[in-house]
Amino acid sequence: MARYAPEGLKGSAPSGAPAPSGTPRGLGLRGWLRWGWRQLTSMRVALILLLMLAVVALPGAFFPQRPQDPAAVADYLEANPGSGELLDRLGFFDVYASPWFSAVYLLLFVSLIGCIVPRTWAHAQAMRAGPSRVPRSFARFPVRDELEVARTPREVVAAAERALGRGYKRRTGRVQRGDVETLEISAERGYGRETGNLAFHLALVGLLVVTAWGQLVQYRGQAVVVVGSSMVNSAVDYDTFDAGAWYDVDSQEPFRLRLDDFTSVFTEAGRPDAFTADVTLSRPDGSETATTISPNDPLSVGNARVYLTGNGYAPVLTVTDAAGDVAFSGPVLFLPQDTAYTSTGVVLVPDANGGDPQLGFRGQLFPTALYAADGTVLGSTFPQPDDPVLILNLWTGDLGLDDGAPRNLFVLDTTGLTQATTETADGTEVPLELVLRPGESVELPDGQGSVTFSELRRFAAFDVRWDPSVPWMGLFAGIAFLGLAASLFLPRRRVWLRVRPASGGSVVQVAALARGDDPGLQRELDRVVAAVAPDARRRSTTTTPATRAPRRTPTPRGAAAEREARDDG
């Protein structure tokens, strides 16, 4: 029976048929296609593709990647205008979506499928067919033995069958030569090795397929929520939102999440110890549930998951203009810049003074202020708001918000703005600094209005994600893992016995063969021998003491013998 194996697989090369290394001549298109397919699904090409995948994956670790960190890509392009643009065009800033990366992994998976599917059929057939015929001669197998026992052939066979037990698939046969009847057993165990290997490779295909599907249908939204306010799970409500090409609005679980409170715990050294967002979840059916979200502990809402991904401070500010009208009021997000939560933020007040001049503030927040001897604030010593101080710089003029261009809400573009300054005692002009603590108000210079810092709130950043492929990925990864372990560790062994009657008992020949490395093979043979022949006289010692030790190592003849056996089978 011919067994399928990928081109070049050790131990299964069909003898006599040389590997198709040369190019086919005069084969026509079909011949070329067949030749190409054989090459693609050969072990050697699989090996090369695996290595190529490793190589093409690496640039993504060296260059900033747009999906992960667009700001770093922009910085890189700015720092290296010439080479940066070339690299960008070649896809180095989005390696995992680049044509060359995709080409390599797609080819690899085509090769994998082309290799695995026929092997799966062949394996299914082999399992149905059971153990192969007993080889004509055992001389080629390094693990073998021959002995004389006092039992009859039938007793030997019965003992051997008992010793082999259920682990082996067996076939017992009888060969009549003249009037000598020889009994033979062919036994094989460890089909699970190949089954595991196939399951492993097929699970990799499954993993790729479900991942691709997940990419197409998934969505992810990010929202920043200040304590006391809410977010809604809908595309328009997010700060950023992306979804796959097959995204369907109906897949978005409808809910509203209100951030009731945010608590953080820090050690004395300022290391974060715990973050907890207390939230109230409202569903369309009117139900409200109070729950918490913390790192490593996302909230599941239907099929969506809500992750806590960040947090910081949001001072609540009120700005009045020269006319005394409230031009801005509300919490402003300040982004932490260091481990002590020194944070920066901007306040844009386009409505001040009817728009002329507009006001802009750039500010720094120090949760626990550290003071110099003269009382100026040097920095923050601790992330908790033990002594929060907010320092604002004022800019006036045209904020430039009307041209409709998208703006980064955390950057104040100072073109077209003038910074308010103040004079020190010795007459030099320095930028004006407005220093505020919660509950305080300060007047702006020249009667331009005032700023009030009424309270300090916390904000939390949430990621909402739906990717239906995740459980499937887990399933396939689990199958792949178990299959791999089976494929590497389950011994695949064949054991053959040939028993013929002799005066006063029988002569037993046994041999064993394993697939791949199998340090336990000799022990297995010894076990069978011990079971069939507790009283054996060794007839011819074919295995030397050195090779009988547990540490014996198969000689190269093992490979030849194995090939032989496969051809026999």
């Binding site: 994956a57 993504g60 670790a61 992960q68 995992y96 110890d273 994600r465 792949a480």
Partner: protein
Amino acid sequence: MGEISTVLVLGSLVAYTVALISFAVDISALGGHAPHRTVRRAANIAVAVSWLGFGMHAVGLVLRGLAAGRVPWANMYEFSLTFGIVAMGTFLVINRVRDIRYLGVFVSFLVVCVLTVAFWQLYVEADGVQPILDSYWLGIHVSVAAASTGLFSVAAAASALQLLQHRQERKVEARAAVAAPVPVAAGAVGTLETVELDTVDTAESVETSGAGSAGGTSPRRPSSFAGRLMAQLPGSESLERFAYRLNAVAFVGWTLTVVAGAIWAEAAWGRPWGWDPKETWSLVIWLVYAAYLHMRATVGWTINRFAWFALAGFVALMANFYVVNVFFAGRHSYSGL
């Protein structure tokens, strides 16, 4: 408790250094004396001292965990201690079953280096972890990563020795071919493997050409230091199989590391895979070792290539730890530095 841990680990470093010296003395004795010495006193001392170091190392690691109130592998210092102890423990345990004292020099050298770098470059006080690390996955994902790294390390030692042994065997072959030109052995460089791996036609031809190296000892009396030394160590093929077995176990471990990491990332960062530099490198390591396993199952490759591949995987593994953690920005920035 943290200080006691530090002292114990330092003590183990001293013990491993003593062991390293003793292993080296043993090796040079093997090369200096006639073959087949039966008593290797220096090697026995080295093994005993290694066990002593291992004991201190183990207690030190446990105390470190107690001092920090969590599993002791949450930063680079602790990860070094953990994979170091796995490497040493693997060596010592296997050595009880079969004599692999010849690997002692490599393994103790490696562990001494790892602990030295850990002490003088990576040390941080025992402390709790950030909320994002505070998960039982820290116990699973990182411990499996450390254990696999330890196993890969011992395998890499065997691969390195295999390459050295192979050079020596080739010299012996070449000399034999010059002395008594046998048709089979007189082939080009690398005859041995080519014969063994793909062109086996008859059992007889292999027996004549392969007999010298298959048993690990050459029948000819070697004259050089390296010759005498290597003649007493296992043959390159047997070292290759040893490395393979360890690599196979470690590869399964690394697979579990990557899978567990993805599960954890899903819970912590909201995606199972995000091409973070550390994730990318872990995949590359996995692919290199997967290529190694395929190569081993393919006809036509020499066993030296297996060793080079395994070593390439090991270099990537070390780069993933020492380079990526320190110099690449990513979400895995928990080196503690």
